[in-house]
């Protein structure tokens, strides 16, 4: 059967891609656009680290630095990690894993890519128009965002547009999972990746609108001076923070849940064992998605919110650690007595567990009321979330790329190079971010252009780490890009996986299945 690369739609060339409603083509569109934004984000981060290599002005002015850390956040969060795994791998594999020919609303799926690109375009446009690049940090906190002369209106509008795209994707995935499962594909036979995407999709549908309205109000505030968040007119800026974090905290679960889903796919395949505690992992995904939506106040412990609220939010925050822990224990138990093959995908998955555990445990320090007073707004926080989001979601995405690459492109990458790239990434990552934890503990505030001389050696170390990390990234992606064209052709099931995507040709044919399969067993039953 010809693959989906050979069978397009009526258009030709690039048009057969950007107007395709095939979920696999849309997944690849997301892959290439999102990785481009990731490259921009990395470049911005590299420039920041270069500036911080020594105290005082080094390569840029303070205002430029403020713009760059804001952009680094906006690009990485809204254009890379939030859409990342759901939009790329969710689009490509969710329909195949449940035995469907496409998502429930293919046209809306294409529309949401277009909306995504429009949002990205507006975000980039906001750099060169109005008052210039935004300098508020990615959180756009009022009242500063109401006063600063830079182009806040266009930037928040861009993020609003990106939110619409995220909601539409979520609607698509929830409906697809409910409606298009193949016969015999019961809820408890769904691969855990599907469960993770499903739980994430609910979070996307339910909380993204809240940040949408918050950003719209910030916009009308800027354009018409309505005064809802403006303390000068009686507004309460803390309410901005409440509404912002009602979305943006669950957003970190939008980032991490799909990553956990990827890990739950990779580990059983390379340990040749059924996953330990399928239901425990599944319900922990749902628990993270639901409890995680009610912990937003832990971003506001030192904002002046009531002590009662802080105490309750702290308690709820510790509760979320429980399902996260459940997952980690189940993954490790799956490995126990397995016949483990440390192929590149598993290497990244194991690194995920290690780095994410550091990220999760350092998070507990901030969830505790007393220690947070000391740690709030320091480099500790920066270190913590890079361990969870980059060490977690980022490494899971690399794992997913290496796991599904042969299926998506029908070719295998050079298998030795990922180990070398991994070594660079692992050493670079820890050299870059571990000093941040120490710096924060010692009191270095985040988002500062300059620092005291006693922080110099750790800042320097961190900058050196960024170079090693980038070397690793270049090696990793160079290998993949090279293999895209020159890689060895590969069979349908190189990893001997047992989920449905491995039962069809690589790359998959246009409508995935010649005949919709009848599912008779769970996702991780190896023969």
């Amino acid at each position: 059967m010809p693959s989906f690369y050979e069978v397009g739609n009526r258009s030709r060339g690039i048009l057969s891609w950007i107007f395709s409603t095939d979920h696999k083509r849309i997944g690849l569109l997301y892959l290439f656009s999102i990785l481009t934004f990731f490259a921009i984000g990395v470049l911005l981060g590299f420039l920041m680290r270069l500036e911080l290599i020594a105290p005082g002005p080094t390569i840029m002015r303070p205002q430029t630095y403020n713009a760059i850390f804001t952009l680094h956040g906006v690009f990485m969060i809204f254009l890379f990690v939030i859409p990342g795994i759901p939009s790329i791998f969710g689009n490509f594999f969710l329909p195949i894993q449940i035995g469907a020919r496409d998502v429930a609303f293919p046209k809306i799926n294409l529309l949401s890519w277009w909306i995504f690109m429009t949002g990205a375009f507006l975000a980039i446009l906001s750099l060169f128009t109005g008052g210039g690049p935004v300098d508020t940090g990615w959180t756009f906190y009022v009242p500063y965002s109401l006063r600063t002369p830079v182009n806040v209106p266009l930037a928040v509008f861009a993020v609003f547009i990106l939110g619409i795209s995220s909601i539409l994707t979520g609607i698509n995935f929830v409906t697809t999972t409910h409606q298009l499962r193949a016969p015999g594909m019961t809820w408890f036979r769904l691969p855990l990746f599907v469960w993770a995407i499903y739980a994430t999709a609910w979070v996307q549908v339910l909380v993204t609108p809240v940040v949408g309205i918050t950003l719209l109000l910030t916009l009308t505030e800027r354009l018409a001076g309505v005064g809802i968040f403006d303390p000068a007119k009686g507004g309460d800026p803390l309410l901005y923070q409440h509404l912002f974090w009602i979305y943006s905290h669950p957003a970190v679960y939008i980032m991490i849940l799909p990553a956990m889903g990827v890990i739950s796919e990779i580990i059983p395949v390379f340990a040749r064992r059924t996953i330990f505690g399928y239901k425990a992992i599944l319900f922990s995904s749902l628990a993270i998605a639901s409890v995680g939506s009610f912990v937003w106040g832990h971003h506001m412990f030192v904002s002046g919110q009531s002590d009662l609220a802080s105490i309750l939010f702290s308690l709820l925050t510790f509760l979320v650690a429980v399902p996260s822990g459940v997952k980690v224990f189940n993954w490790v138990s799956t490995l126990y007595k397995g016949s483990i093959e440390v192929a590149p995908p598993l290497l990244f998955a194991l690194t995920f567990i290690f780095l994410f555990s550091i990220g999760g445990l350092t998070g507990l320090f901030q969830g505790a009321l007393a220690t947070d007073v000391h740690l709030h707004d320091t480099y500790w926080v920066v270190g913590h979330f890079h361990y969870t989001i980059f060490g977690g979601t980022g490494f899971a995405l690399f794992g997913a790329l290496h796991y599904w690459f042969p299926k998506m492109f029908g070719r295998m990458y050079h298998k030795k190079i990922p180990y070398l790239a991994w070594a660079f990434l692992f050493v670079g990552f820890n050299t870059l971010y571990f000093p941040m934890l120490i710096l924060g503990w010692k009191g270095m505030p985040r988002r500062y252009y300059d620092y005291l001389p006693q922080f110099h050696s750790l800042q320097l170390l961190s900058t050196i780490g960024s170079w090693i990390l980038i070397a690793g990234l270049i090696l990793l992606f160079a290998n993949l890009v090279h293999s895209l064209f020159k890689g060895e052709k590969v069979g349908d099931n190189p990893w001997h996986g047992s989920t449905l995507e491995w039962q069809i040709p690589s790359p998959p044919p246009k409508e995935n299945f010649e005949k919709i399969p009848h599912v008779e067993r769970g996702p991780y039953e190896f023969r």
């Binding site: 409440h242 002046g304 002590d307 609220a309």
Partner: protein, 86 residues
């Protein structure tokens, strides 16, 4: 068709009740009564005009409205934990 018109008549009558209650001064109860009436009206619209009660295709339809309401109540409740005790 008769159901539709009956429901519409009830909606109009409830609006009348809400407006006249607001005319009397019930103090703290006036807000509560206005909201109860609003919930009742939306229940009518949801179940009869939007046919939520006849939607049998998936159990999801049974849960969405209670679900979204409890989420909103939790959002408002947790926000008030700050605002009311600041």
């Amino acid at each position: 068709m008769r159901t539709y018109i009956l429901v519409w008549l009830m909606l109009v009558a409830l609006t009348g009740v809400a407006v006249s209650v607001a005319g009397m001064d019930w103090g703290r109860w006036s807000m509560a009564s206005a909201l109860v009436i609003a919930f009742f009206k939306s229940g009518l619209i949801l179940n009869y005009f939007m046919h939520l009660k006849d939607e049998k295709g998936s159990s999801l339809f049974k849960w969405i409205i209670p679900g979204v309401l409890s989420i909103l109540i939790l959002f408002i409740g947790l926000t008030f934990l700050d605002v009311a005790f600041r």
